[in-house]
Amino acid sequence: MTIDKEQLISLLVDKTGLERDQVENQLQELVNRIQQAAEEGKTFEVEGFGTFSMQEGELHFEPTDTLETEINNKYAGMKPIELIGAFKEPDGEEIPDMDKQQQGNEDRVWAFDQDAIEPDETVEEPVAETADEEEQDDEPEQVAAEEDQPDEDIGKDSEIDVDADQPEEALEEPQETTSEDENKQLEKVTASAEDETDPIGRFLVAALVVIALGLAGFLIYDSGLLSGSKHSSQPKTSQQMTDVPSQTTGDTEEESPSKEASDSDKQNENTDSEPEQELEVTKQGGSDAQQPIYGLRGTLNDKANDGYTIVVHSLRVKDKAEKRKQGLQEAGFRALINKASVDETTYYRVGIGQFETVTAAQQAVSRIPEEYRDNNFIKRIK
């Protein structure tokens, strides 16, 4: 429906209550003013309605916000709704996916934060260090400066000394802080490395220590530093073992090993003059030309009497010792009797074998009859 001039005037008459002529005049005046403004290229504003202006040779009307809203009252307050998902513009351009876009933004944010945090840490720590170092550099100078004063004013003021002490204390604190910072840094830096290398490194160190101790012990043993103590220690251990045979054999006439051990050296000296031993040695010394000077088996050799023997019996009765000796000789061993006196008691020790060194005698222990292997001691023949 179109409202023409007549209908418009009728509506205006009803609205204003003016006379029809007045309304016609008023309306004509309004149209004239709009036309005049348009011809002059000026804008003509109707209050509360809109603005008429000439644009590109045509009269253009721009309604006011009030008029626009009143016309659009049905849809007033509606706002653009954001669409999620893939929609295509009428021109066919593909619309980027909002989800992917957000993820991309998040990744960028994360990467940005990471990049932003790491430089901060690396920057802050050196700054703190340098600051502490600067404090260190500054304060010693103060200390030196203040310490110079007391030197000049010695005896005048004791307060200056106190002042000089305080900066020193203050000086220590930053050093501690810096050391702590450095430790923290070292911990941070080597935290990952220590976790990986610690077990292996400690194991290697322990292995090296064990190997070094083993080598040192072997060298000491091999160089003969312990040879002096071997002579004294070896008989002791073997003499302690003689406790067992004396008890197991039930031979009450055997000497007590403890007494024997203490006097073993004296016994050696005493046995030098024993005629019985010499007789036995001379009896059997002639037939040993082909056998080695020292040995476990065979016949006795006088030249070997400067060596060592394995004592397997120690008896107070000479006859029993002779029987044991003969039994051993029949078994093919070099058997000899060594007479010793301990606490005014004479013992007849039956030994087997003649050995040049204690070590050789010890090695031969494994070849003597099994009953003696755990019950014997090594002794110098003479």
Binding site: K5, L8, L12, L18, L27, G48, I71, E93
Partner: protein
């Protein structure tokens, strides 16, 4: 020019246009009612929105 007349003029045109009537103003032009449907719109930042429908007043100049 009376203010009351200007105010009455604005109200009359607004009411007639709001009721989807075309108002003919001789020597100037016509005021028309026009409905715009909803439509999709993509901003420059990639966001896609659905614009709401809209009722507008349009002016068609006379020659």
């Amino acid at each position: 020019m009376d203010k009351n007349f200007i105010k009455a003029f604005s109200e009359v045109i607004r009411e007639e246009v709001a009721s989807k009537n075309e108002v003919q103003l001789e020597g100037v032009g016509r005021f028309q009612f026009k409905h715009k449907k909803q439509f999709q719109k993509q901003y420059d930042n990639g966001r896609v929105v659905m614009m709401p429908p809209k009722d507008t007043i349009t002016f068609v100049p006379e020659n």
